[in-house]
Amino acid sequence: MNKVTFRELLRFGFYALRYMFTGGPAYYLWLAFLVALALWGGLAYREQLTQGLVATNMRDQVSWAFYVGNFTFLVGVAAAAIILIIPAYVYDWKPIKEVAIMGEILAISALVMCMLFVLADLGQPEMVWHMIPSVGKLNFPASLLAWDVVVLNLYFLLNLVIVVYLLYCTYQQRPYNKYFVVPLILLSIPLAISIHTVTAFIYNGMAARPFWNASILAPRFLASAMCSGPAILLILFQILRHTTRFEIKDEALWKIAEIMAYAMFINLFLQGAEVFKEVYSSSEHVVHFNYLFVGLGHHRSLVPYGWGAVICSLLAFGLFIIPATRRHPVTLNLGCLLIYIGVYIEKGMGLVIPGLTPDALGEIYEYVPTMTEVRIGVACFSIGFLVYTFLTKLAVAITLGDFNRNMVAAGDRRGRPIPRPSTPD
């Protein structure tokens, strides 16, 4: 068997980079669009760096908000790669195995966004080096955020290694070493569960915040992640099917939608159980639920979002549990969109804001993000999309055989460095 040499890997990296920046006008337009958004948000970040976090609407009462909410949601998206891995590698289900790598690429991109959102939220971003074990002073194992740093980075590295290795082997036109890669893929299953569990535990472990201090939180995190991540994947798969020769069977899409329906059922059931306990026992802790679903006095700005999320999730569940509607492209995509909206609210700001409102001393501060926060959020998302675009373009080309070592070598001999991309992407 051929060994992976560093030199070869470097060459691969160089050609891959060149390939990522080659495409049709539509591809360049898409890249330019994302870069423009990232710059627009990047300028807002510069503003935040000069003024401090006072550029946001976070204050002592609501000290975590938009950034942390997005971070939490995106951890779920990253964890959802396993919804492809489990059927593909544990049950060896062919139609999904062919597209499993797309789930891993989504995980990588989502984790990049997670890290950007955390960085945006820090008051002293240049001091992040304090978190590096042995260089800084990581408070492991006491601090759940320290755990999160560990598992998120492990999961990120693991997915990166798997994706790069698989693509590299296909590029070299040789079979991958399954004794190397399959254990890694299987390891990514518990790690995916752990990133979401640990993120849930950050909130869960705070006795000061009754809204988060419920043991049902981590299971709910997992259930909703099994909906939101695949919702994005389903839409991306359809885009890929239309724009490239990449084949994704309908069966694969339908199976994913079916799994999402079950996950959504569990999520809604657990949420119902939580609502019952809070509302029926109606202790003083119900105040956070009331803030989300009823409003407290004239403080009602979250109420439409609270109900919006529930309604979106219920509708999506209906669409995905009925085989006819989950197989019809229109209702399938509508369902994905509804799930995305529902979980984005529920696992984002719908989790963070009511947890902190009213604050520990009963004060109500109504938080609404500033334009700076929204712009920085846009930048984080567009950078994540850039990463996804680049990796997907490469993965599609390599998988379809449009980009491999022979073609690169041939291209070099003809003085044409890059093979013509077959896809506008």
């Binding site: 002592d60 975590w64 950007l116 002293q124 408070n139 320290a146 001393l361 009963g362 984080c380």
Partner: protein, 310 residues
Amino acid sequence: MSDLNNRNLKPAAADSEPGMPRRDFLKAAAGTLATLALSGCTKEAIEAFLQKHFQELSPEELKTVVARLERECQEKQGVKVSISTKAAAPGVLFGAGLDLSRCIGCRRCVYGCVKENNLSRNHQIQWIRVLEQEKAKGVNLEDANPYYDPKEVPREGYFYIPVSCQHCRRPPCVKVCPVKATWSEPDGIVVVDYNWCIGCRCCMSACPYGARHFNWGTPSVPSKHLNPRMHYFGNRPRPRGVVEKCTFCIQRTREGRYPACVEACPVGARKFGNLLDRKSEIRQIMERKRVFVLKAELNTQPTFYYFYSL
């Protein structure tokens, strides 16, 4: 001044930051360092950036750090200051008492604290929050009003609860900190190393008493109001983007003085002393009155006790 210099430099680093995956921490650190160096930045700024965790500083290193911090403050404020690093005395566990029967809600403790501890005046920070409560409802934080503003206090039918850091024996804020920037000192004071805090605000979410405050903007204290007698964990100038909190006036109490809030209280509602000393005032109160702590059900075991004298 290193703090200011840092700020000025940040935008330059900003361009590269949004695209940075976290595994490039080291690279980013090196990059920031390079930016600092390239822009002709002072040695002090680099020293500040690389400053070690307080508990890992050798006595010589600590001296250098303190000298730098004093110099920075003097340059910025034009006032000569001294920053103490006096350690906890053996056999001391500080505790505070608050007499709810006496407190009239005048907030003099709040202002005394602001003055003593160099709390930011623009982007106001106050370590003590006084809550107004209806007598008919008893102590119920969910129903408290911190923004009461009557012509005269106390208002008929109301009583007042000042709340600040409860200096818990089992502080939830300490265990959640990802970088050990906050801890319990041997004398029970929960402190923050302002130069080590990364500003993630986990501790603020974890605190059940709303006692932790964040420097959302650049803190500012007019030079003429600056209290020059400082402690490393106490009232020295804080950088922007870090968390701060009540330190039982560490710069005073470690010198054997009362905290500023205790001195400022016009009705003697505030008590302070060594919980390990049977003869201390705070122990006498525990002996003669019945005390309680806030949110006892959370098992944070505060060293801050409330009681009714009448």
